[in-house]
């Protein structure tokens, strides 16, 4: 193959992929978590890079960012964001909780009938 045509490099290694847990779902979840952690770090570092670049240009004062106190409206919005992100990460457990609740209320409804 010529180097001018686009070469796709393999992403999967030849050889068995050992799983640590009896249920390999746990291995998959672990891989997702660590990968997510890696991406989160990349994003956090990018934000840091951005702040430093902006500070160098005199557009942002890091001390001002660090000492930032939101006003009431902003505080409410930030609180909502915090909850939203947590719920997004915890979505599977929350779904299970919701299902259990629904089953309970369905059962109550049946009992009433």
């Amino acid at each position: 193959m010529n180097a001018d045509s686009k070469v796709t490099l393999p992403r999967v290694a030849k050889g068995p992929r050992p799983m640590m847990f009896e249920d390999e779902a746990n291995d998959i979840l672990l891989s997702m978590n660590v990968s997510l952690l890696n991406e989160l770090t990349v994003t956090r570092q990018r934000l840091d890079a951005l702040e430093r670049v902006l500070e160098k240009k005199g557009l942002v004062d890091q001390a001002e960012v660090n000492g930032f106190t939101p006003d009431d409206a902003a505080a409410d919005e930030r609180d909502a964001l915090r909850t939203e992100i947590s719920e997004r990460v915890m979505y599977l457990l929350l779904h299970q909780a919701e299902r259990a609740e629904r089953e309970l209320s369905d059962k109550d409804a049946e009992d009433e009938v």
Binding site: N2, V7, L37, N38
Partner: protein, 393 residues
Amino acid sequence: MPDEQFEHGMMTRRSHDEAERQANVRTLRQKVLTKLAAGSREMFYRDIAPAYEKQHGKPLDDYREIRQEMLKGNYMKFQMGFHRVVQELMWEALVPPVEQQLPELIDKSKELDRNLGTLELDPDLELPRYITAVDIHCQPGGFTADHCDGDIAAGAIYDRAIHIYNSRGGGMTDMAGRAICAYLDEIFPDLKPKRILDMGCTVGHSTMAYARRWPEAELHAIDVGPALLRYAHARAEALGHAVHFSQQSAEHTKFEDASLDLITSNILAHETSTKAWPQIIKECHRLLKPGGVMIHADLPQLDEVDPYRQFIYTNETHYNNEPFWTKYRTLDLRKVATDAGFTPDNVIRDFSNVKGGRDRAKIDVAVEHSRGLGHGAPPGSPLGTAFLVGIKE
């Protein structure tokens, strides 16, 4: 600068995010995994080993049984699962920038060629099955992938991987080569090699240490991976060193009998096979001039470390595509060398942290200490890098 890799002329460029992704994998490996591993070692000595001894009336000192006991709890499963994931994420972080820049990198490899050294590929070379059966270290495509004309991808990927993988390689990732130089300087102060061969050189990171230490010597380096060698050649040219790279199997090379003063290898042994490694040592015996020295660096053998380290070492076979790793560590290396023709007095089994040379008693004491280490022992092998040394009569 905190421990950055030197950006020589052949390096793959990285955006902020690509660089950070790689740097974070290094942190996960060097900082987080190390902490996790210290925890499991503590659990072993504090809880698991005493509980086993109480229940069975005998110590827990067989590495296979240690594995069984350790894997009963979730902690070790998570640690080893995490270990594997970090290894996979390393390649995930390394492959895309190389893929994206491949045509440009191939051009660069040609531009950098100043004809200081040479490159000789052998398209007819039969690739050893022990190198191609699985992708060693889980590197997708392995050491021998050759995707297109002038391909250097395997080398470009591996070059940055060494730095992520090894916390103490230094900016030039040549610590292993420097350790071999330091050993030879101390034990063989009169050695002035005129012709050197580095076996299984990959991208030539250790080879460069020999180029710097013996600039007057004719330096050869061989490997079986064509893309690794093209990259290694360009890398050496970029760094300004004259090295003659060629695609050859260390089992049977094209060099003449008694034509070399020094033969080196670094972590090559455990990537070969039960048949190949003795053959490679035989080949070394054939190639060395009288008085010439071979030195092969790897980790210690299983019977040179304590049972818990045996367990940690042998994990690599199971979880990092290292099929020969455990088997290699049970070979009687002294016997391999004497079977290959080295006289017993001219075979030295030694370690970078011991440097006993011909003082066998000093080395035996150090190994005995290493075997007996228990609770509270520092992480990492106290012996350091292990060497198999042979001097041709």
